[in-house]
């Protein structure tokens, strides 16, 4: 009753009565048949169990076991025959029914033969009854040639039916799958799965071919996606889970991988999707292509070349080049445009170069009073600040402050010099040198009236602010002149400072040669030429007349006031002829200045990092510097290395004595 007692050997003890093995077996054999016939109500479990028990106990286990195998085999052969004889459609149903019956019978047989299962089988090394029942079914039913082919065809037909839109009996299919799996995964594989995968590949091969010929890429992908889902569903409804990976592989390979390039390069393929914002299709393409080897890489390749191509087109487009951003009219539109600009800005690697150009343009806008609205300017600077931090915009903001301070200063100047209100008016913008884009200082001779005013302002300003130095940026600034022409027509001319200097000379002369003008004004010749050009050679703005009437300004030319000047407008704005785009050398100049500005930044960053880390190896230092600076620009590793060396020379850092790759901070 405990385990120990159960294992007690009973061999010496002989049972009260011997048994007749043949008679006992005949009785059991009959019972097995009755069980298969589902006619068991007349059978006593106790009697059957006791007989089987006694047979084992009296060493007739062999006879019992082989009898069972023989009887069951005979029964199954009979079942196979009847299955072979079933007509058409009911084959699978019949098989399923027979299989269920067999299982039920098997369970009962196992129970009455429990003692044999428990004692004889492990001892004699035979197959347990359960497994025996499965094996016999496999050998006699499934492996029967006719049944095997018929089963396979019936199953494949069902799958084909479902793929072409029929409704099939999934429950039945699931049962058959389960049967095959119960018989062993290899049975499922051999009898069904291998062929299933082959047939599926053929099916999808044919389907893709047809679709490629008549469908757009997006539709193809849609179908492929739904096919994929159908197959996954199919597996979950009635196939074994291990088939899922295999069948999706088939669909991926046949529908996607084999057609990868065709799909991408179709007229309705990747590029067309990108151009037409087909986000859903693109998403689908990504999801499907990522499943196959190289899929995403191909997308990547085509996308890269497309982006490069359209980028190039944008850059080459002359209209766009002139005005890359179309500004809207209303405040809201401007806001939206600015947000878009910020989007692009985020992708800039060299933000400091952007800053340098932006500063230059902003300076022009501010100084020439061309800003559309101060609010918009400020709002954009706030955006830049949010993106890049205070440091980045401090100079830009400084420019605004200068403008405001200058207004106040001018007000103060005129309050303290009330007499000056009658003469020409001077508006000075005092700019902090390091905040504004630096310009080489070119002075020119201002007309006497103006230079007098300038001196007054200078002494007023220096009187207010000790220790400052003012220098005049005569190449900037504008002037409004009142001019009276030959027949008495009056105009107000809006001109640049240089132009003003030139025009003022004509107050005292009718004819001036180029040389005379140059001498009187001391304007550098290149500036003077463009200045004269804009005064004399632009139609409807030609307040001067030139002799000879050539298209260029030469050093021997002479200039007159153009008495025939006419304009419908009272106010005439005379532009300056300037090159719209930077010339190559100017570009290099800007580039150099940007590089120059970077130097202290890189060095400061190196020192800051080393100060906190004390000891760091080269690669990590470069990486860290790059990381900290990337919001402004991408420092060149060689440049960083050069600065490290320069810092070592100046004894901020030293190399570690043992490891030359390590740097040590020295203060």
């Amino acid at each position: 009753m405990s385990d120990q007692k159960k294992n007690f050997r009973l061999e010496e003890f002989k049972h009260r009565e011997g048994i007749d093995p043949d008679k006992t077996w005949t009785m059991l054999e009959h019972a097995i048949h009755e069980i298969y016939n589902q006619n068991i109500s007349g059978l006593s479990y106790e009697v059957l169990y006791r007989n089987a028990y006694n047979m084992v106990l009296h060493k007739f286990g062999d006879k019992l076991y082989s009898g069972l195998v023989e009887t069951m085999t005979a029964r199954l052969k009979e079942i196979a025959r009847s299955l072979e004889a079933t007509q058409g459609g009911s084959f699978l149903e019949e098989m399923n029914k027979k299989w269920n019956d067999h299982n039920k019978a098997l369970k009962m047989i196992r129970e009455i033969m429990m003692y044999m299962d428990r004692i004889y089988i492990p001892h004699a090394g035979k197959t347990p009854v359960d497994q025996l029942g499965l094996n016999l079914w496999r050998e006699n039913v499934i492996y029967s040639n006719q049944i095997s082919t018929r089963l396979l065809n019936a199953l494949l037909e069902l799958v084909y039916g479902e793929r072409t839109g029929e409704v099939i009996n999934r429950g039945l299919f699931r049962n058959i799958t389960k049967m095959l799996m119960d018989l062993g995964p290899s049975v499922y594989g051999q009898e069904f799965e291998t062929q299933f995968l082959l047939v599926s590949a053929e099916f999808y091969q044919a389907e893709s071919q047809k679709l490629i010929e008549c469908c757009a890429c997006g539709d193809f992908l849609k179908i492929a996606e739904s096919r994929m889902k159908q197959e996954i569903d199919r597996v979950s409804y009635y196939l074994d889970p291990m088939t899922e990976k295999k069948i999706t592989n088939v669909v991926e390979k046949v529908m996607i991988e084999n057609n990868l390039l065709i799909l991408i390069h179709m007229d309705s393929g990747l590029v067309s999707m990108l151009c037409n914002d087909k986000y859903e299709d693109l998403g689908r393409m990504y999801k499907l292509f990522r499943r196959v080897a190289n899929g995403l890489f191909k997308i990547y390749e085509v996308m890269t070349s497309h982006i490069k191509e359209s980028g190039k087109q944008l850059v080459m487009d002359r209209d766009r080049l002139k005005d890359p951003v179309e500004f809207g009219v209303s405040e809201d539109d401007i806001e939206i445009t600015l947000d878009k600009v910020m989007m692009l800005f985020r992708y800039l690697q060299e933000k400091d170069e952007f800053e340098s150009y932006y500063k230059r343009h902003l300076a022009k806008r501010l100084l020439y009073g061309k800003t559309v609205s101060d609010d918009v300017e400020r709002s954009f600077i706030v955006k830049l600040r949010t993106e890049c931090g205070y440091q980045f915009t401090s100079k830009l903001e400084g420019m605004f402050t200068d403008m405001k301070t200058s207004r106040d200063t001018m007000q103060g100047f005129y309050t303290s010099h009330p007499k000056l209100r009658d003469g020409p008016t001077l508006t000075v913008q005092v700019l902090t040198a390091e905040v504004w884009p630096t310009q080489s200082i070119v002075t020119c001779n201002l007309p006497a009236e103006m230079s007098e005013l300038c001196e007054k302002f200078q002494s007023y300003y220096l009187g207010m602010h000790m220790g400052r130095k003012l220098s005049w940026q005569t190449d900037m600034g504008t002037a409004d002149l009142k001019a009276t022409f030959g027949k008495g027509q009056k105009h107000q001319l809006n001109v640049s400072t240089y132009q003003m200097c030139v025009l003022m000379l004509f107050n005292n002369a009718d004819r001036l040669s180029y040389k005379e003008i140059e001498q009187a004004t001391k304007i550098p010749s290149s500036n003077l030429k463009s200045c004269l050009q804009s005064l004399a050679l632009v139609k409807k703005r030609n307040v001067l007349r030139k002799e000879p009437m050539s298209k260029d300004v030469g050093e021997d030319d002479a200039f007159f006031v153009n008495d025939k000047f006419r304009s419908k407008l009272y106010k005439v704005k005379i532009g300056t002829v300037v090159a719209q785009k930077e010339s190559e050398p100017e570009k290099l100049e800007t580039r150099k200045r940007v590089e120059e500005d970077r130097k202290p930044l890189i060095e400061a960053t190196i020192v800051r990092i080393m100060k906190s880390r004390k000891l760091l190896d080269h690669n990590n230092l470069v990486a860290e510097v790059t990381k900290q600076l990337q919001s402004r620009f991408l420092p060149n590793p060689t440049a960083v290395k050069k600065h490290i060396e320069s810092l070592i020379e100046r004894e901020f850092l030293e190399r570690d004595a043992r490891d030359r790759k390590m740097y040590r901070y020295l203060y």
Partner: protein
Amino acid sequence: MKKEDTVKLISAEGFEFVVDKEAAMVSQTIHNMLTSPGSFAERQHGEVTFPEISTTILEKICQYFYWHLQFASGKETEFPIEPELTLELMMAANYLHT
């Protein structure tokens, strides 16, 4: 006690023991008899005849069933076995898979 919850065990001499199914199913053999999917005669009638088990032994076995339930629920007492019954009792235990 409801009839469905009990089972009648009949000894070789025809002596009947009515016990709870729960107790009787301590024996794996009886358990199979009463739960097998096909309904054998025993399940239909609610009685099992043991032509090879004597009344004395069957009685002892029934006592054991109940003792086993108690033991399993934590009441650890001795189960007395008279030496003269030992052998037959073991035979029956083997048969009943207890």
